[in-house]
Each structure stands twice: as C-alpha cells, then as structure tokens.
Symmetry: C2
Subunit: 300 residues, 2 copies
C-alpha cells in the first residue's frame, strides 16, 4: 500500500512544493552568502573560492541550500535585503564588509539571522562574526622579521575601510613600536596583486633601503615579489605575508618568504555553525577569533 504510493510518486515525478511548505513552516531551507565585492574581485581572490566551497559543504551537511550573491554596489543592497526579507533564505552570511556597509544593519533590523565573516570596522554589539587573528598574525610576521635582524621593515597595508586591513596594519605598528628600532614605513594597496606591485614600486623609490616587507595579503606579497624581480632588486631580509590559506601556500614557490597561515575551512565551518545557532533562536553574541600560525622558510 505504501509502496504503491511511492511508486506513483516517482511515476508522476511528484516533488513537495517548497512554497507551500515554507508558508507554513516559515523556513526556506536555504542560506545566502553575500560578498560585498564586485564580481571581478570575487572571482580573482582565491580566498572566496575556498570559503564558498567550505560553506557549501557545511550547509549541504545540514541539508541547507547555498545561495551566492555579490553586492557589487549599493544598488544591489535593496535586492539582497528584499530577497532575504521575503523569506527566500533563513539566514545570511556576510563576507568582505567595507567600512560603513549598511547591509548588516538592514538585515539585522529586518530580523534576519546574520553572521559576518571578518570583524567589521564599525563593530556594533549585536553582530556575530568569525574572524582570524589578524592583529596577532601580523605581529607574528613582523616579530619574525625583527628577530632575523631586519631594521627597515616596511609594510604594504590593505584597505583601511576593512577590518582585516586595519587589523594587520595595527599588528605591524604594535610590533614595530615595541621593538623601538625603526620608524614605520607604510604603503597602501587594495589586497590585489597589481596593488601590491604598485606599492612595492613606490616603496623602492621612497625607501630604497628597506630590508624586509610585510604584505597584508598573499596577493600583495606576490605582487611585491614580482615588482622586486622586475626591478632586479633583492631585499636582504624577507617578504612576509598574512592572510594566507594553507591551500594557496604552494603559489609561493620561491623563498625567502615567511607566511602566516589561517584555516579558511575552519572559518567556513564556524560561520555556518554560528548561523545555525542564530537561526535556532540563539541570541547570544558569540563571535569567534581563530588563531593564525607562522610558517617561516629559510632564506636560500
């Protein structure tokens, strides 16, 4: 009897109507991952690929669907808020927030569970976020350079409207000040390889005597090394980098290079777990900061 029904189901290709189900359960069974960057940026930063994969896997395990949205410009914000508010998704993961991004506020006041990836610059008490220890990571890298005897360590800092950019610069500053052996040398980039290249060129011009560079992202470090090679220059110390996932480490084939590693998979996992808690009604603010660790390669 049950079998004959099952048979009919597959015969007619019956599938429960999600809209009807949502109407009564008030759940959609999907979660949005919103990245506050233009497509070109999203698709050129390997960090996002790893996060998307990780989050997708975690959600699949909970039988939740992943909806990926990119918020290139503010015009898209309305769409996204509407989409979430409509009941299309049960929660939102927000990545790569910039300074005064209104998105988390809008979503929050619409009563939608939100978890941020990366501590935002203007941290409001209500937010739940997952971040890696950017300050600590940067400090680790710079302290390593100091220990190696470098006394003219420059940094290629990231955008200062982003939490990670600020934190990494903060870590550099703390380490430099604590050492008391030199003044800060700072150039800014936008986390991209091209930005790192430009910053390195400026650095070589304004401070030709730098003996080490701390880059605030893997792609900027790559750019810095390209610029050094193109200029036929070597710096006696090292290029160090943070913001660097294990899986990407292989791109840096040639030493000298010291890097600070983070686990992007762990970040995905935590974000999903926190979101799930929020969706289950847990209102506790329980943000997480993940540790980083230094991987130093010996200079050739």
């Amino acid at each position: 009897m049950r079998d004959s029904v099952e048979e009919a189901i597959s015969l007619l290709g019956y599938v429960p109507n999600q809209a009807a189900r949502s109407l009564v359960t008030r759940r959609s069974g999907s979660v949005a991952l919103v990245i506050s960057e233009p497509e070109s940026e999203v698709f050129s930063d390997p960090f996002f690929a790893t996060i998307v994969r990780g989050v997708g896997d975690e959600l699949a395990e909970l039988d939740l669907d992943l909806v990926l949205m990119m918020a290139r410009h503010a015009g898209r914000h309305d769409r996204i808020v509407r989409y979430a508010h409509n009941g299309h998704v049960d929660g939102v993961l927000l990545l790569a927030m910039h300074g005064d991004d209104p998105l988390p506020g809008l979503l929050h006041s619409a009563g939608i569970p939100v978890v941020l990836g990366g501590r935002p610059v203007n941290l409001s008490d209500e937010w739940t976020f997952v971040d890696i220890d950017n300050v600590g990571g940067a400090r680790l890298a710079v302290e390593h350079l100091l220990r190696r005897g470098c006394r003219r360590i420059a940094t290629i800092a990231g955008p200062q409207d982003m939490g990670s950019g600020r934190a990494r610069l903060g870590g550099y500053r703390t380490a430099i000040e604590a050492a008391g052996t030199q003044a800060e040398i700072i150039e800014y980039g936008d986390f991209s390889q091209a930005g790192g290249e430009r910053a390195m060129r400026r650095l070589l011009e304004t401070h030709p005597d730098v003996d080490a560079v701390f880059a605030a992202s893997d792609r900027m470090a790559l750019g810095a090394m390209t610029a050094l090679k193109a200029a036929g220059r070597r710096i006696p110390g090292d290029v160090a980098v943070v913001g660097f996932d294990d899986s990407e480490a292989s791109r840096f084939s040639e030493p000298p290079l010291t890097s600070v590693h983070q686990s992007t998979d762990e970040m995905s996992r935590r974000m999903v777990r926190l979101l799930q808690a929020r969706m289950d009604g847990d209102q506790a603010r329980t943000s997480v900061i993940l540790p980083t660790h230094l991987v130093a390669r010996s200079s050739s």
Copy 2:
C-alpha cells in the same frame, strides 16, 4: 487614506511573503545560474566572472534574482535538481557543460525552462543554447597564422568532453587540412594556465620546430607564453588564441599575439533573453551562435 496604509507598512516593516505569493502565482522571481565546475575552477576563470556579472545585470533589469550554484561533482546534481524542481527558481541557466552531464536532461524532464551557455557535446534537439562561433573563431586564427607564412602550426586544444574544446580543435583541423601545407600537431590542456604551460613544454620537446601555436583558451595561451619565456625560446610565428573576452585582452601585454574576441556580455544578454522566452512558455528551439572577430597585433 492610502498614505496611512503606506505609513503603517513602513512602520511595521511589512514585506509581502514570497512563499505565499509563489504558492498562488507559481513563480518565484528568481533564476539559477549553474556552473558545472568545482569552485576552484569557477573562481579562477575570468570568463565566469564576466558572465555572472552580465547575467546578474540582465536579470536585475527584469526584476529577477540570480542564484548562483556550482556543481562540483555529481553529488550536487540532486541538490540542484531538487532546488529547481521545488519551485525555488523559474528557470535555469547552465554553463560549462561537460560531455555526458545529466543535469540538462534532469531539469528538462522536470519541466524546468533551461538555457545552455555553450553548445553541449551531445546536443539533443530539445536544448536551447547560446554559443559563440568556436569553429569559425579557431579557423580565423589559424588562417591568420597560415597567411603569415607559418608552416608548423601546433594547437593546444581544450578538453574534448566540452563543446568549446571540440569545436576549437575542429576549426584548427579544418584550416590545416584546407591549407594542405602541414600535418596536425596537437597537445591537450584543460583550459587552465598551468595546463597550457605543460602542453607547451611537451610541444617544445616533441616538436621543437613549431613556428606558431594556436591555443584554445586565453589562459592556456598565457601559460604557453610563460613556458616559452621560461625555456628561453621564441617561436618565429605567433601565438594565437580564442575564447577571449574584450575585457581580458589587456592581460596580453606583449606581442606577438593574435586573438579572437567574443562578447561575453552579449552572451549573457542572449541567454537571459532566451530563458525569459522559455519561461513565458515559448517552446521554440531558438539557439543562437554569436560571431567572433580576429584582432591581430603586429609582431615586434
């Protein structure tokens, strides 16, 4: 009176319930863009970035939301079919189909409007697709090399389980045969830069006398040039490439290079338009093949 209602709406933050609306209208207001590649691939090929942006813009104009899904492995197929079948989306755009991908069949038999980006290898009559003229583009490129006097033109072909890979190899073969001046020289890559590099190295080993290379993708061309430079080799003729969007052209800064351009934006536009037609009940099979054009740079 109306005003007081509007006021109450914004006061209470009322938003129409999409589930209830869908239940009666049988429309969800969103469209899925499914890419049959793992995240790492999707996020490293600039082609996808451009398509996603283009499709997103086109859909926004029609007031439709874009849901991006990546089908890394077959395990994800069920999820995607279920997601679409559930009524979550009104239609599906499928990108980067591989040989025997069951996805279009599954979706089609579930009665979901589907438009393919790129002519699939096993083309069934029911499919609607948008493609660029890969055969013509490849022919164009190879004919150009022949016209320049090259007589040992190799190709770095793409994966043969993909329509574009096969078509571009087909165009190369047609041109070489028609000229009757040489035999085919073929190495295969996977459309990636690393694949192009490996293929070029094999080529230099097995056919050290090649005087031109036709690469079946921009990234493989980039890889080929890297391999050539690393080997300290120059080929007298040219490296030509297809599958190359205008916006990416700038990456190829150094001649000699001839490229065949396509308009990715136009492709996005057509895909969305065709899908819209299908969603409006138009059952006509009206696939589109977009023209390509050659851009030759003079050798330095």
